[in-house]
């Protein structure tokens, strides 16, 4: 398999790049040679450097080499000839793993899964064919500032729909699903939990209540809440959990309908070092590897239940929460629409957000005054597309491989149409409210 001259040259270049092969004229190495294991990942340094140190200590014959790519940029890297010399892909991007599995990009993972459940709630923790496996999880919910909530007389909400109430107007930090990587799944959790029609209605009202629309990472949501500028933010748990573990006076609350976004690991079909790749995957899933992700600067959720028994009592255990139905979200079922719903959300609810928020405030005021603005409310709550339209494969296609902040020219025209339609709808609603004197 590795006797292809093109591949040999590519592999040699990569190994040279990684300092793993002696080049002409080099001094003879005094230390034992280490085989590179090339890992493509989007984990930040806080995570990866701990695995570098621990894995290389456990497996001194290997040297990890990190190639960092955001999920949208990882796809083309793994679609290059010989998969760019990558051994392992490790990232929190279920869509990438599924898409690449369909393209035959992986070899069988073939590691010992003893002690590793296949599901948490309705979320699969490994694909059915045995090509990739979840290595950690993150849950969705609300990061709250208890002191601010108390000052405002607001209770921690039990579920997403409570955030549609007027009391939350201007008090929610909302990550923009068009730009923030974790947010598309968050949008979909609500759509799946409440159904397409009611789900969009809830999202429209929540977006209308947003005081801040965050265009970059979840640390910003946590900062926004910690500062008190907004008492509640919609977030994925680990950013907030790490902040809380390091003393931030915040709390993370999982709603009745949460969801899991798993990170996965897979071994590339053309992995130059399959043994090293397997050793790394095995290490990540081992008890030692799983403990690393519970460090208080990382605070992810292990996929090995036994590890939770060693953790503090207040460490969130998704396996126990799943018994209460908290994680009934089935990410596999609606994965293909994530790009579409994120784009719809961004174009209709967060672009020109001030107008939407203003309309919702007018509706809230009118309702508080006893005015009948039900028709206007229904217009504000209406989905931007029908469920049937959104399920059209032709419409889904241009968004299927789209990831946050990535360009996708085929989708741009559609997005422009949605933005225009949304603007027209808001204009119509404003005129109706004007006529009603509301």
């Amino acid at each position: 398999m590795n006797d292809n001259p093109d591949f040999s040259a590519l592999r040699r270049r990569l190994l040279l790049a990684l300092g793993a092969l002696p080049a002409a004229g080099r001094a003879a190495p005094a230390a034992p040679s280490r085989q590179p294991v090339v890992v493509l990942t989007s984990y930040n340094d806080e995570v990866f450097s701990r695995f570098e140190a621990a894995f290389e200590k456990a497996w001194p014959q290997y040297r990890l080499q990190l190639v960092w790519r955001m999920p949208h940029d990882a796809l083309p890297t793994l679609r290059q000839p010989r998969q760019s010399g990558i051994d392992v892909y490790w990232s929190a991007s279920p869509r990438n793993f599924a898409s690449l599995a369909a393209e035959g990009a992986w070899q069988a993972l073939a590691i010992d899964r003893d002690g590793l459940p296949g599901h948490v709630g309705r979320a699969r923790l490994a694909d059915a064919e045995g090509y990739y496996a979840a290595t950690e999880m993150a849950g969705y919910g609300f990061i709250v500032n208890p002191a601010e909530l108390a000052r405002l007389g607001l209770a921690v909400p039990q579920d997403w729909s409570e955030l549609a109430a007027p009391a939350w107007s201007g008090r929610i930090a909302l990550p923009d699903p068009g730009r923030v990587g974790f947010a598309p799944v968050m949008v979909d959790i609500v759509l799946q939990a409440y159904g397409w029609e009611r789900g969009w209605a809830v999202w429209s009202a929540i977006a209308g209540n947003a005081g801040s629309v965050m265009e970059a990472g979840s640390t910003f949501v946590t900062d926004e809440v910690a500062s008190g500028r907004c008492p509640l933010g919609l977030s994925i748990d680990f950013f907030s959990a790490a902040a809380i573990a390091n003393g931030a006076p915040l709390r993370f609350a999982y709603p009745a309908h949460s969801g899991i976004n798993p990170a996965h690991i897979a071994i590339c079909r053309d992995a130059p070092n399959p043994d090293g790749a397997r050793a790394f995957a095995d290490f990540v899933l081992s008890a030692a590897g799983q403990r690393l992700i519970t460090h208080r600067d990382i605070r992810k959720l292990p996929v090995r239940p036994a590890v939770y028994r060693e953790l503090p009592a207040d460490y969130f255990d998704p396996f126990r929460a799943a018994e209460r139905g908290v994680f009934d979200y089935d990410g596999d079922a609606t994965r293909d629409r994530l790009g579409l719903v994120a784009a719809l959300f961004a174009q209709t609810l967060t672009r020109e957000h001030g107008e939407l928020a203003g309309l919702w405030r007018r509706v809230h005021r009118a309702e508080a005054a006893g005015r009948d603005v039900g028709a206007v409310r229904r217009q504000l709550e209406a989905p931007p597309l029908s469920a049937a339209e959104a399920a059209d494969p032709a419409l889904l296609a241009p968004f299927r491989d789209r990831r946050e902040a990535a360009t996708a020219p085929a989708a741009n025209a559609l997005e422009a149409q949605w933005q225009q339609a949304s603007r027209a709808r808001r204009g119509d609603i404003a005129r109706r409210l004007d006529r009603m004197g509301a």
Binding site: R13, L14, L16, A17, L18, G19, A20, P22, R26, A27, P29, A30, A31, N44, D45, E46, S49, E52, A53, E56, K57, R63, Q65, V67, W68, R69, M70, H72, D73, P76, G85, A147, E148, G170, R171, G211, S212, V213, M214, E215, A216, G217, T219, F220, E224, A226, S227, G228, R229, A245, N246, G247, A248, P249, R296, D297, H353, G354, A357, A406
Partner: protein, 442 residues
Amino acid sequence: MRALCLIFALFCLSTANARADDAAALREAYLQPLPGLDDAGRERFFRGRSLFRQSWVIAPADDKAAGLGPLYNRLACISCHQKNGRGRAPDGPDERMLSMLVRLSVPGRAADGGPKPHPAYGGQLNEEGVPGVPGEGRAALSWIELPAVTLAGGEKVAQRRPQVEFVDLAYGDLHGSLHSLRVGQPVYGLGLLEAVPAATLLRLAREAKPDGVRGRVNRVRDVATGRDVVGRFGFKANMPNLRQQIAGAFVGDLGITSPLFPSENCTAAQAACRVAPSAAHPELPAADLDAIEFYLAHVAPPPQRDADAPQVRDGAALFERIGCTACHRPELRTGPAPRFPLTAGRHIAPYTDLLLHDLGPGLADGRPDYRAGPRQWRTPPLWGIGLVPRINEHSQYLHDGRARNLQEAVVWHDGEAAAARRRYVELAPEARRALLAFLESL
């Protein structure tokens, strides 16, 4: 980001202050902004923080953070400055340098008066390379245990020194080269240190000091103006200002060009490096350099803890009495700072004079750097040093991490610090404990 919850803006600072005494929150103590940032300032601060935490990507890539390499050490600023704190040295030759690097040069001076880069390897060993560009090699670090030092009362203090072996060298041997080990330095309080007027440093250098302590300013090249100015950042005060320090680290550690250093870090001997693609020209635009500079200029030093505890008070008095404050100045005053007004006109307690001092042969790296001699090091600021174990989860000190605790670091002092070190060694055990308790309170 559109922030409409402005009514709550003031709570930011009150919340941050309320956290100061919380033991868990101390792990975030190197990450806090200076009090007084307004909303726009906070946005700039967070934007800079994102860039400081950003993992950079090999070009070509569909990513704004592209441009890593062709040769580099690590992927992100925080790789070597985790939680804005102190890096550490490997425990042995099998462990890679995760937050440490090796400076390289050959005898002589470069045209700007600084160290003369190695003709094949440049100014530091870059262990990693992008595909097609061989990484320069590996530095395998071993530790040699030295005879323990006996303190008054019989306590023994262990000592070790590092030994480096270069392996897998890709561009020829390094015989005859000079090298110096450097762990990542803390990056809080830098805006305040930058705001200390150069005239203050010159005055401090001129002042008569006891015990043969001298102190001199380094004179280094400001690449933006082309002039030689007072150096104040870096282990040898070889950087004139924060902006150049950042841009120098970007090109040296990450291989990312900037307006100050527009050329990739390739030597004439590194043919593949020289033809490797760049992501942009420069790869770090001025606006991003501005953002990171703004961020680092506004990261606050952590406040001292337990300052009123009797043992800490005693330790502070001893710190002064045995002569440590001749270099580790407990108070400086910042001057005007038109670019970063929050740093201006403040009394600060960095415990440094930002001057170069001869620390003796034991710590000498044998590598001059502008006016800094082979035995000279800049007095490192001590503010925040007591939080290193809590925040960075190690207790390594000095430029190469050889000291495994604060006491070892004290005992390594020599040269101009010999008298202070001798007095420390002669202190009664209880007095030593007080002095260390004071350092741990910083």
